[in-house]
Symmetry: C2
Subunit: 155 residues, 2 copies
Amino acid sequence: MEQSNTRVPTPDKELAELKEHLRRGNHAELREGCKPGAELLSLIAEKWTVLVVIVLSDGPKRFKELQRSLTGVSQRMLTLTVRGLERDGLISRTVFPTVPPRVEYALTDLGESLRTPIFALGQWARDNRAVIEAARARYDRSAESAPAGDRNVSG
Amino acid sequence: MEQSNTRVPTPDKELAELKEHLRRGNHAELREGCKPGAELLSLIAEKWTVLVVIVLSDGPKRFKELQRSLTGVSQRMLTLTVRGLERDGLISRTVFPTVPPRVEYALTDLGESLRTPIFALGQWARDNRAVIEAARARYDRSAESAPAGDRNVSG
DNA sequence: CGGTATCCGTAAAGATACTG
DNA sequence: CAGTATCTTTACGGATACCG
């Protein structure tokens, strides 16, 4: 790449690369200083990670199988997701040097141990979905007439 | 940029307002069509929601108390978070029309019921934090020498 | 097949100022 | 105190193209 004569502050290209690197690598460093609770969130909040764990609960899967199971995930996001999970030791990645290549992902023991709390959460979600949707409908209806903090006034 | 005289497609101002409206209101509609698993995630993935539930497990709190407990949340994000939780029926919001104003947030029964699975997840995180950090360190070290898919080659 | 690199749009998060 | 409104910054996520 063209690093010019003296020094370019942020050539917009390098910046993007840096961002990418930070994202792919350990963006956790950015949140270091936050409480451990927040770390947990970054672990499961990345939209696809939980789904991957659930799908792999069924047994090892190849890249394409994962992608098909997740209906809607892009190649990029799936790659980032499995890399992150591999990094955290939740899944293993095994390459078979055949042609065409074959890569299998599977839950590690650590990943297996995450199944229990995740499924508990899933169970809660299923049990209370109707309640939540009802609450939303109620809220949205009353929000039309009471725009802001005029609801639930005590006294 | 050069939109001609006749009709402005997205006046950049209205667009922002629309976005804000969608965000504050029911952005869930955008994800409708996704699977229920994804809905669950949008429920807890918004970075502060889980923390708020945890803090409120200790008992009702006022706005400022919540903000102090969460160290680092902005006024805006806290407002959005509690609104979302209120909408979903997980917390209640009670206004005392005193001066200065006083608003208390508390877990509803539904919110209380979420404590169990959340704490289970938190327990898992605490139990395995060391393991995960070790895995990360190992991964990052080996990733330096094996840049890509050259690790864990079978055969 | 299983990725990586790049570009770009949108959504989330933060800072700040102002209101009842 | 408890917000709302506005603006800016940052991160997330998708589409595409190309490589081994």
